[in-house]
């Protein structure tokens, strides 16, 4: 590893976000550098998806204080699609079905029309998309199919920062390997290990996906803030034996 610290790709400072009149995030600070993979843990309803939705710019997630800076650009005022073209991609926890728009079209859109037949065939093979390609996206997709479809779109997009919202939930063991393989390909770009510039933020409850993807650090989102951070597997272990409340402030956590 080079001794020089990479410039932060994403910098979130004192972020407060409200949905309707409820404040969900209350001062989140997070820095993700190029090539880093972070994990986001936290109880149901804690605001993990809210954080991701805020980063991608979904309407309805109102920043009342603080800011999100990506590649040196303050994202406030940028539309969802502008953020995507700047290099932010997301795999949704529960993506919506779109009648009349095929998965194949979504992949083409994500790749901005740069995907040739060969690359499409490779995606199809890696993620066993098969008949899903010609189906309306997410329309009647099973849980595992929806996750693979999200992965295919992200792989086509190849964003510099990939946000994964529970990529393994509802996915069987065989498919976790498939999804994990895709995440690895995206984050590590095997052929270009030297570069390793792409970064990831992964929401997970179980950590199963971490058997396939190496993560550098995990954060626990608790009471609207990132309450602690530490080694991903150690933190998950601690949480599963003692719960979130005990974990926050425990000796594993590097308190913030």
């Amino acid at each position: 590893m080079a001794s020089e610290k990479p410039a932060p790709l994403l910098q979130i400072e004192d972020l407060h976000v409200s949905v309707g009149d409820r404040e969900i995030l209350r001062g989140v600070d997070l820095t993700i550098g190029e090539g880093e993979t972070h994990v986001l843990l936290g109880p149901n309803g804690g605001g993990k998806s809210t954080l991701l939705n805020t980063i991608v710019g979904m309407p309805g997630y109102r920043i009342t204080q603080g800011r999100v800076v990506f590649k040196g650009v303050d994202l406030a005022g940028l539309e969802i699609d502008e953020r995507a073209r700047l290099g932010i991609g997301i795999a949704f926890q529960r993506p919506p079905a779109v009648r009349g728009v095929k998965l194949r079209q979504m992949i083409d859109v994500a790749a901005n029309g740069t995907l040739d037949d060969e690359a499409m065939a490779a995606l199809d093979e890696d993620l066993s998309l098969g008949h899903m390609l010609e189906r309306d996206v997410n329309m009647g997709f099973s849980g595992g199919e929806a996750k693979r479809s999200e992965m295919a779109q992200l792989l086509a997009q190849m964003p510099d920062l990939a946000l994964f919202d529970e990529p393994e939930s509802g996915v069987d063991l065989d498919n976790i390997a498939v999804v994990g393989g895709a995440m690895n390909a995206l984050l590590k770009g095997e052929e270009r290990i030297a570069e390793r510039t792409r970064a990831g933020l992964i929401i997970t409850h179980t950590g199963h996906i971490l058997e396939y993807v190496n993560a550098d650090v995990a954060h626990v989102l608790y009471s609207g803030r990132l309450a602690c951070k530490g080694n991903p597997l150690d933190l998950i272990e601690e949480i599963s034996s003692h719960g979130y409340e005990a974990c926050v402030g425990c000796k594993l956590c590097q308190s913030l």
Partner: protein
């Protein structure tokens, strides 16, 4: 001198006339009433030797309904200008497979057969004043027959063109697809860019033989002050398939049509697909009816409607099960894109003494969901492109036999209208 008609045929013609005379003031069950006495009938026009000799402006107009002056990709053509069939031709390769002529000529050529089997057999002359008008003051129309067993891959094209204002064109069309034959007919009704008011009353009687297949695509390209009253009846024999595609992308004063498919044959099928854009102050009342009579008959109707401006659109669909073993489904969805536009979706199902009939429908009128737009945007697509992609997907129903030029036309309309809706 033509041979005199048999007494039976003559009697039938008399009956048709008497019935029509009695119905000439009878308003239609649906749609605004049109004062048919305000229009004179269309005039005679010069015949032409080649479609290339059509005026440039006419060629450009009809291409919007899929009618090509270059006939390379067509098996046969019929072009009627006002009252005159100015051009009728079958391409060499299909010479022995297709007959194409005006219905009045067909009646002169084969009077006994026409009257016995096809002439006002699928549509009643006294249905309303528009059928009566055509029965009493017919101004030609096309006759197309595809011979038994002949599968004609290249489309047959027909165009009914109106070049004058304040006229009514009263056409009577007949298509016969004999047993085992297949045909793809593209018809366009067009008016000259300068035409203002007018009426198009069009009777269409289609007969699909045993194991035969007819794909009928109609694109309407009307003027904003035109009233349109087509009346269509289709009879489908055993194992026959009728596919009806209808596309309306331009403003029209009023159109009301409700084609009826009589699925009399065992295992016969009817499919109705329609894409309708309600623009300006158009009054559009469209639907279809499938009568499931033959054992094992099937029907499907898919309608997509986008309405804008001050338009009013009715989207109807009627399924009538008359046999135990029949199945049919209606799928009818609309998007209203203007606060001044009104849409009705009216599905209508009946089982007439057919306890085993399976009839179902899905009808919905709702906007594009915002979360779907955002989803596409997260993949890098700007909002307006996301909206047009979803709208295109909404109307982009799988229409078999739709020529590329029409597909592009539809895409263009979606592009324009979704920009307006932003």
């Amino acid at each position: 001198m033509p041979e005199p008609l048999s007494p039976k045929a003559q009697q039938r013609l008399d009956e048709i006339r008497v019935a029509a005379e009695a119905a000439i003031d009878k308003p239609a069950a649906l749609g605004p009433d049109v004062d048919i006495t305000r229009f004179r009938t269309v005039s005679e026009q010069q015949k032409i030797e080649s479609l290339e000799s059509l005026q440039k402006q006419v060629k450009e107009t009809v291409i919007h309904s899929g009618f090509m002056a270059d006939e390379t990709d067509r098996s046969a053509s019929y072009f009627q200008m006002d009252r005159t069939p100015i051009y009728e031709r079958v391409q060499k390769a299909f010479d022995d497979a297709i007959e194409i002529t005006s219905t009045e000529d067909a009646l002169r050529l084969w009077p006994e057969e026409m009257i016995e089997k096809y002439w006002w057999r699928a549509v009643m002359p006294d249905k309303d004043k528009y059928t009566a008008l055509v029965a009493l003051h017919q101004t030609e129309g096309y006759f197309i027959r595809v011979k038994a067993g002949r599968k004609v891959e290249k489309p047959i094209q027909a165009c009914l063109f109106v070049s004058e204002s304040n006229v009514s064109q009263n056409v009577h069309n007949i298509i016969i697809v004999e047993d085992g034959a297949e045909a793809n007919v593209i018809t366009g009704c067009n008016v000259h860019v300068d035409v203002k008011e007018g009426l198009h009353a069009g009777i269409s009687e289609f007969y699909v033989g045993k194991g035969a297949k007819l794909t009928f695509t109609m694109v309407h390209n009307w003027a904003a002050d035109f009233s349109v009253r087509p009346r269509t009846g289709v009879v489908v024999d055993d194992d026959g398939i009728y596919i009806n595609n209808y596309v309306l992308l331009t403003p029209v004063k009023s159109i009301q049509a409700f084609p009826v498919a009589k699925l009399v044959g065992a295992r016969s099928t009817a499919v109705f697909n329609s894409i309708v854009y309600g623009l300006k102050d158009s009054y559009i009342d469209l639907g279809s009816e499938s009568q499931l009579i033959g054992e094992g008959s099937r029907s499907e109707a898919v309608a997509r409607t986008v309405s804008m401006d001050q338009s009013t659109v009715y989207s109807r669909g009627r399924l009538i099960g008359r046999t135990n073993d029949c199945k049919a489904h209606l799928d009818c969805r609309g998007i209203v894109q203007s606060p001044e536009s009104t849409q009705w979706a009216i599905p209508d199902l009946a089982s007439e003494g057919a306890p085993g009939a399976e009839l179902s429908h899905e009808a919905a009128i709702s906007p594009i969901a915002a979360e779907e737009i955002y989803y596409l945007m997260t993949r890098g697509l700007p909002k307006d492109e996301a909206i047009s992609m979803i709208t295109r997907g909404f109307v982009n129903i799988d229409i078999p036999g739709l020529p590329d030029v029409l597909r592009k036309q539809i895409d263009k309309a979606i592009e324009e209208t979704s920009k307006e809706a932003m």
